[in-house]
């Protein structure tokens, strides 16, 4: 009799381009689960469905369960099996566990070290648990994957630094002011980048946020979305001293904040530093402002450079992370294998139910 098999089957951004991933995206997980309920010998199942990957983590009574899952999925998606086999990943045992560890920790992500995937894996596991399709193997493997992910995110530089310009601007503000709860932030400009930066500040706890733009109604709209205030764009120079962080992203052809106006503002608040973030092209802030005491001026190139440095630093940590995760996967697998073997022995008796997915699909 063959042994129970822990597997992962899926397609990711590594081999499947965007247009293919669009065709593979699961529209209705419950409908798919109903299909998979019919797969004989599928004991446990969790489905990870994100914009960069659709993966099935399962335990089958033997290796044929993987083929059956693949067939059911391709049929549901109306996707050629042969084409799927060219782009899929299919791993079993320790390699499958290692893959999950790498996914959960962000090592396998398109944007290396991103944090969102951890939440997505947790959600996938929670859904599988709620639907009753997890058992001793998936429970153990997922729990260990979360621990391993937390470990590498804490003990390596895989998640260090931010990689988007808006978040780099927020990080700079925290480097200067610590908590943003007392920092007053003014965003000048209502374009896409200004709006994204305002949103980043808001989501990171900036309690005093104001938006100003030539198009007052757009500024009002953005401010309303973020629960921020607005200030008249024309009065910006007189209000500079009231803010700790000023983000400029207007389409103005000339400088809108001169070094002299900033120097004048600093005389009214000499003890408090000022962060100027110039995301505009051409630049909105006169470059001479960076020579002022307690003033820190960053432009788009500076921020892009920091983001790129962070991205490179994360990628350089991948090898170290993989080594740590491999060690953890080895340790886990030696334990899990014993569990699978004993489960296999107990399964030599006739099965009551043939499918974990079936349980999930059942009301």
């Amino acid at each position: 009799m063959s042994e129970p098999c822990f597997f992962v089957l899926g397609a990711t951004h590594h081999n499947a381009p965007l247009e293919v991933r669009e065709r593979l995206a699961i529209e209705s997980e419950s409908a798919l689960r109903a299909d998979l309920a019919l797969v004989k010998g599928l004991r446990e199942l969790a489905v990870l469905n994100t914009c960069n990957r659709v993966e099935f983590y399962g335990v089958g009574t033997d290796a044929t369960a993987v083929e059956a899952v693949q067939a059911a999925y391709c049929a549901r998606q109306k996707f050629e099996v042969a084409e799927y086999e060219r782009i899929r990943i299919r791993l079993t045992g320790r390699d499958a566990a290692l893959h999950l560890f790498e996914v959960a920790s962000g090592v396998d992500s398109q944007l290396v070290g991103e944090n969102e995937i951890f939440g997505q894996v947790k959600d996938a596991y929670a859904v599988a648990q709620a639907s009753g399709s997890t058992g001793s193997v998936l429970n153990r493997v997922f729990q260990k994957a979360f621990q391993a992910a937390k470990h590498v995110r804490t003990h390596t530089g895989i998640a260090a630094g931010t990689v988007s310009v808006a978040n780099v601007a927020v990080d700079l503000a925290t480097n200067i002011f610590g908590s943003l709860s007392d920092a007053r932030v003014l965003v000048l400009g209502t374009g896409e980048i200004g709006s994204a930066t305002a949103k980043a500040f808001s989501s990171r706890g900036a309690a005093h946020l104001a938006v100003a733009g030539r198009r007052g109604e757009v500024a009002l709209e953005i401010a309303a979305t973020l629960g921020a205030g607005t200030v008249p764009f024309e009065e910006r120079n007189g209000l500079l001293s009231e803010f700790d962080v000023i983000v400029c992203s207007t389409a103005a052809p000339n400088v809108i904040l001169t070094a002299a106006s900033i120097a004048s503002a600093m005389r009214r608040r000499p003890a408090r530093p000022l962060l100027l973030v110039d995301l505009a092209m051409p630049r909105d802030i006169e470059s001479g402002a960076s020579d002022l005491q307690n003033v820190f001026l960053y432009n788009l190139d500076d921020l892009a450079k920091i983001a790129e440095t962070n991205r490179s630093a994360r990628e350089s940590e991948v090898v170290r992370c993989r080594a740590i995760l491999a060690e953890k996967a080895d340790g886990l697998w030696s334990v899990v294998q014993k569990g699978i073997e004993s489960a296999g022995e107990s399964k030599s008796a006739p099965e009551g139910r043939n499918s974990a997915a079936g349980q999930a699909a059942a009301p």
Partner: protein
């Protein structure tokens, strides 16, 4: 076995632990990793306890707070700075401050232990049995320890300022606290050091006015100069005249001046103190 250890041997052990903290931090920084705040704190704590034992044995031998020669003064200054770090360091939430504290502890203890002439003469009963003078001396040296921690914070501030101005915010610069937090801590430490030194001078002045001949002019001038510099820096900072980088450099200079003033303090001793030439320092 431990009962046979001399005060200096305990202090060498303390120096070894401070150095271990320093090495741990340096290795982490060279490898580009986050410094292990827990391990460094453990090393500092172990060093602190051993130093406490060593200074306790020395204090027992000298019949008072061990401030009888330059070696003892530097040891006590290091111990004071580390006391304050252990009390308030948690609020910094910066493993780098622990690292820098380990640097200060290691530097002061090793330098003082390595120069035998600084501990060649063991002075006993230097305070003439007057507890107020002992309190004066202990407070004054403790305030110097506070200035030591202030100097470390100022160094962190300057590093953070440099990193932000030069736009190098990654790597181990990312471990530094925010510039505003460092600035607030600097002001508080300067205020604390100034308050302690003021108290020390007040206690000392009560004694000095009774017998002005007991304190040398050099010691008097050096101590008042340090106090005046601290008071001036604090006043100018409060008025917004001494800010950011200049304030940090001033704080560093203040600690340097405090260390230099120890020369004058060491040269002026209570006339009732007994001096014993140490044969094996």
């Amino acid at each position: 076995m431990f009962a046979d250890l001399s005060d200096r041997q305990w202090l060498w052990c303390a120096a070894a632990f401070y150095t271990a903290g320093l090495i741990l931090g340096t290795v982490s920084l060279i490898r580009g990793q986050r410094t292990s705040g827990f391990l460094i704190s453990c090393a500092i704590m172990a060093g602190y306890l051993l130093q406490f034992v060593g200074l306790g044995i020395r204090g027992h031998a000298t019949g008072g707070c061990p401030l009888g020669n330059r070696f003892e003064i530097l040891q006590f200054t290091a111990w004071s700075a580390i006391t304050l770090y252990l009390v308030v360091g948690v609020t910094f939430r910066s493993s780098l401050l622990g690292y820098f504290t380990a640097c200060l502890g290691a530097a002061l203890t090793i330098v003082s232990l390595s120069i035998p002439s600084w501990d060649a003469v063991l002075r006993t009963h230097i305070f003439g049995g007057n507890p107020w003078i002992e309190l004066h001396a202990a407070l004054a040296i403790f305030s110097y320890g506070v200035f030591g921690l202030l100097a470390l914070t100022s160094a962190l501030f300057l590093l953070r300022h440099f990193s932000l101005k030069k736009k190098h915010v990654g790597g181990w610069f990312s471990l530094l606290p925010s510039i505003l937090d460092l600035d607030h801590i600097e002001v508080r430490l300067l205020g604390t050091g100034l308050a302690l030194l003021t108290l020390a001078l007040l206690f000392g002045s009560v004694y000095w006015t009774r017998d002005t001949a007991t304190v040398g002019h050099a010691k008097l001038a050096a101590t008042i100069a340090v106090w005046a510099a601290a008071a001036l820096a604090f006043g100018l900072r409060a008025m917004g005249q001494l800010l950011a980088k200049r304030f940090a450099w001033t704080c560093l200079a203040l600690f340097a001046a405090a260390l230099l003033s120890l020369q004058a303090v060491d040269a002026s001793r209570h006339p009732g103190a007994a001096a014993v030439e140490r044969t094996s320092p």
